[in-house]
């Protein structure tokens, strides 16, 4: 089967609010142009298109159809969509290339989270019989998870603040980040609790944004870029939707996905952790020591565009290889409440 590589990546700036349409299509037009510029490909060269977004975020049915206009889909294209983070759209595109059906694919994710009340919208991901009717919001659920780890002595408020401080420092060199700055963890801990046990720095900001990745078979990739980022392993797993039956301080789905792709020996890992404590759970699940550089981009805590933040992690991990900064990196994406579903991809210099 064909091996698959990332050959292009672009993202829209992460911002608190755009003035664009509710479905956020305007964010896509410039980044499509950017990846075509990077790769020298045109839309006619793309064999398969796949996107990740959500109708609940846009407040209308089939909202992803509007985004197809940004492609310029004539003559008709070969297209698909997942109602998840676009990292899962990348998985679908990866399969298409693996199977030899196409040799290039363009994957994109987008969402205007500022249009609605994000933490309330996200409660509709929950079990519709016994949880969603209570409208438990994403911050409340993350707080339950964070406290379980605190009570068990797995992490402290200080540990969480250090994750936030490091993320913001790293984001100062990321022009697309929404939050950044040189701030000490001790200073962050002086801020009030916004949703006990969480402080504002523990929670990823509400973000409008979009991202796009171009994939190619390895054979094709060598003609497109000098250092393609070959996906040597990609796996996704899911944990029970029953929050009260899971050990929320662990992420067995990440652990299993990580084992399947040989996650340990990477230089850089981009982890999709929308809450500070979730980064600690993920690092543990992937078996990382201090030698693995985590989220040099600043990660989702400094910009969390819904339905593209996970794809962006894979894009950032690939960019480190495309730019010649690393030879083995990891991208992770999560979807659902409290790290329910997780995808892990390992990338190597081809």
């Amino acid at each position: 089967m064909n091996d698959v590589a990332v050959v292009g990546f672009a993202q829209a700036p992460c911002v608190r609010r755009t003035h664009g349409t509710t479905n956020g299509v305007e964010m896509l037009v410039p980044i499509f142009a950017e990846v075509f510029e990077q790769t020298g490909l045109t839309k006619a060269d793309i064999g398969f298109w796949c996107s990740g977004s959500s109708d609940y975020l846009a407040g209308r049915a089939f909202s992803f159809i509007a985004a197809v206009d940004a492609i310029g889909a004539f003559p008709p294209i070969h297209e698909s969509h997942v109602e998840m983070d676009a990292a899962w759209a990348l998985y679908e595109a990866w399969l298409k290339i693996r199977m030899g059906e196409v040799d290039t694919a363009l994957v994109y994710g987008f969402g205007k989270a500022s249009a609605g009340e994000l933490r309330r919208v996200l409660s509709l991901q929950l079990d519709p019989y016994v949880m969603a009717p209570l409208w438990p919001d994403s911050i409340g659920i993350a707080g339950l998870q964070a406290r379980l780890g605190m009570d068990a002595g797995l992490w402290s408020e200080k540990d969480l603040a250090e994750v936030a401080a490091r993320s913001r420092r790293d984001a100062t060199s990321n022009p697309f980040a929404q939050l950044s700055g040189d701030v000490e963890a001790a200073r962050l801990l002086e801020e009030p609790l916004v949703a006990d046990p969480l402080r504002a720095h523990d929670i990823a900001p509400v973000t409008d944004g979009a991202a796009v990745i171009v994939l190619a078979s390895v054979e094709r990739a060598r003609d497109i870029v000098e250092r393609p980022a070959v996906i040597t392993g990609i796996e996704h797993r899911i944990d029970s939707p029953v929050l009260g039956a899971r050990d929320l301080t662990r992420s067995p789905s990440t652990e299993r996905a990580g084992l399947a792709v040989g996650a340990r020996d990477v230089e850089i890992a981009e982890l999709h952790a929308p809450f500070t404590h979730q980064e600690l759970i993920l690092r543990d699940a992937l078996g990382f020591g201090d030698d693995v550089r985590i989220n040099p981009s600043g990660g989702a805590l400094t910009g969390n565009p819904m339905f593209s933040a996970g794809l962006t992690r894979i894009g950032e991990a690939a960019r480190q290889i495309l730019a010649g900064n690393a030879s083995r990196t990891l991208g992770h994406a999560t979807s659902g409440p409290a790290l329910q579903q997780n995808l892990v991809a390992v990338l190597e210099r081809g």
Binding site: H19, G20, T21, T22, V25, E26, V29, F32, K43, Y56, A58, G59, R60, A66, D69, A70, I71, G72, A73, F74, K112, S114, A115, G116, E117, R119, R120, L124, P128, Y129, V130, M131, A132, P133, L134, W135, P136, D137, I139, G140, I141, A142, G143, L144, Q145, A146, R147, L148, D151, L193, V194, A195, D196, P197, S240, V242, L243, G244, A245, L248
Partner: protein, 347 residues
């Protein structure tokens, strides 16, 4: 069972804010809602029917552990589970987080705690809300008991919320309205639960659509032309679906055109404004390359045909807003029909 009661609302009235400029894209509140009806099946059915009797039941897994709420299949063996077990309506807080500003629909409409609660007799924890007054009164390991809804209906929200066991009995928390129920015969079990889902958005349109909507408020039909393929779109598009580039050049169209295709609506439905039969048609304005959907009135439904020439019937000027509803409907002009070849490529 289908919904005996369902409600939809979809309102989007584009209004002009006092401070906006010609360039600011239009936006307006958008509220969407739907009452989801779900069949409960044997396991969740048992659970919600017990709630109606102010009892909580779990289900025993293959390892002997009792799951509350009950799960339909064993998480380890994937076998269907059938052995129900009663548990207490009192339990222990396993974890909690504070909700200082309750959101619409949440169980308690004053500051409260989300909690994972392990009921006595259960091995897994139930997610629910605790009315403790303040975060300072919450702690892991505290004992809580159910505050039942005044009139249980067979729904998770029959558990209104939880209270600390030693809470005073006379301070009921404000709660959202009870969930609607599916009508059924007296005494028969609940087989369907209804869960309203209402979301609020600030809906925004593109700069191109804003030009079009502002034009309608002046009685003008503004289309835009794609700079690459020259096609004229009304409403204008954020990006030409053929070329993927924004449409830019403004084109004003007349309010006459043709029917490209149509259907006769005979079926009554919720929210219908005109008595059937009537015609919904694709209208291709003269000079446009894309038709839009509107009504054709002013003749018998059976007289409407493909290629028929029509003209807009505008509402009185004082009723105009930034909406295509300024045109009440289209009416036949009486001119000869357009030849099929002239619009065949727009079908």
């Amino acid at each position: 069972m289908l919904a005996d009661k369902s409600r939809t609302c979809f309102t989007s009235v584009v209004t002009s804010a006092a401070t906006e400029t010609e360039q600011t894209p239009l936006s307006a509140p958008l509220n969407v809602g739907f009452d989801y009806t779900r069949s409960v099946g044997p396991v969740l059915g048992h659970f919600v029917n017990a709630l109606r009797q102010r009892r909580i039941v779990g289900i025993r897994g293959s390892d002997g552990r009792v799951h509350v709420p009950p799960v339909e299949y064993d998480p380890h063996t994937a076998e269907a589970l059938t052995e129900f077990a009663d548990v207490a309506d009192e339990g222990t807080v396993v974890s909690w987080s504070w909700a200082p500003e309750p959101l619409e629909g949440q169980p308690i409409q004053r500051p409260f705690a989300w909690a994972l609660i392990r009921l006595d007799g259960a091995d897994t924890a139930l997610l629910h809300a605790v009315d403790a007054g303040s975060a300072a009164k919450m702690r892991t390991g505290m004992r809580v008991r159910v505050r039942w809804a005044d009139e249980p209906v067979g729904h998770i929200r029959d558990i209104a919320y939880f209270l600390p066991v030693d809470a005073p009995p006379d301070d009921p928390a404000p709660t959202p309205p009870p969930p609607p129920v599916v009508e059924r015969e007296e005494g028969s079990p609940v087989t369907t639960v209804v869960t309203p889902v209402h979301l609020s958005f600030e809906h925004s349109v593109s700069p191109e659509e804003s030009r079009y909507l502002r034009g309608l408020a002046e009685g003008r039909l503004i289309a835009q032309r794609c700079p690459a393929c020259g096609k004229v779109y009304i409403p204008p598009r954020g990006a030409c679906p053929t070329d993927g580039v924004p449409t830019v050049e403004e084109v004003e169209l007349p309010d006459t055109g043709i029917v490209t295709t149509f259907c006769i609506v005979n079926v009554p439905f919720l929210g219908q404004r005109i008595k059937p039969p009537y015609v919904a048609a694709y209208i291709l304005l003269d000079g446009a390359d894309i038709p839009f959907l509107h009504l054709v009135l002013g003749c018998e439904a059976s007289e409407v045909r493909m290629g028929m020439r029509v003209r807009a019937a505008w509402k009185p000027r004082q009723e105009w807003s930034t909406t295509l509803e300024n045109i009440a409907h289209f009416e036949p002009t009486g001119e000869p029909d357009a030849p099929y070849e002239s619009y065949a490529h727009h079908l």
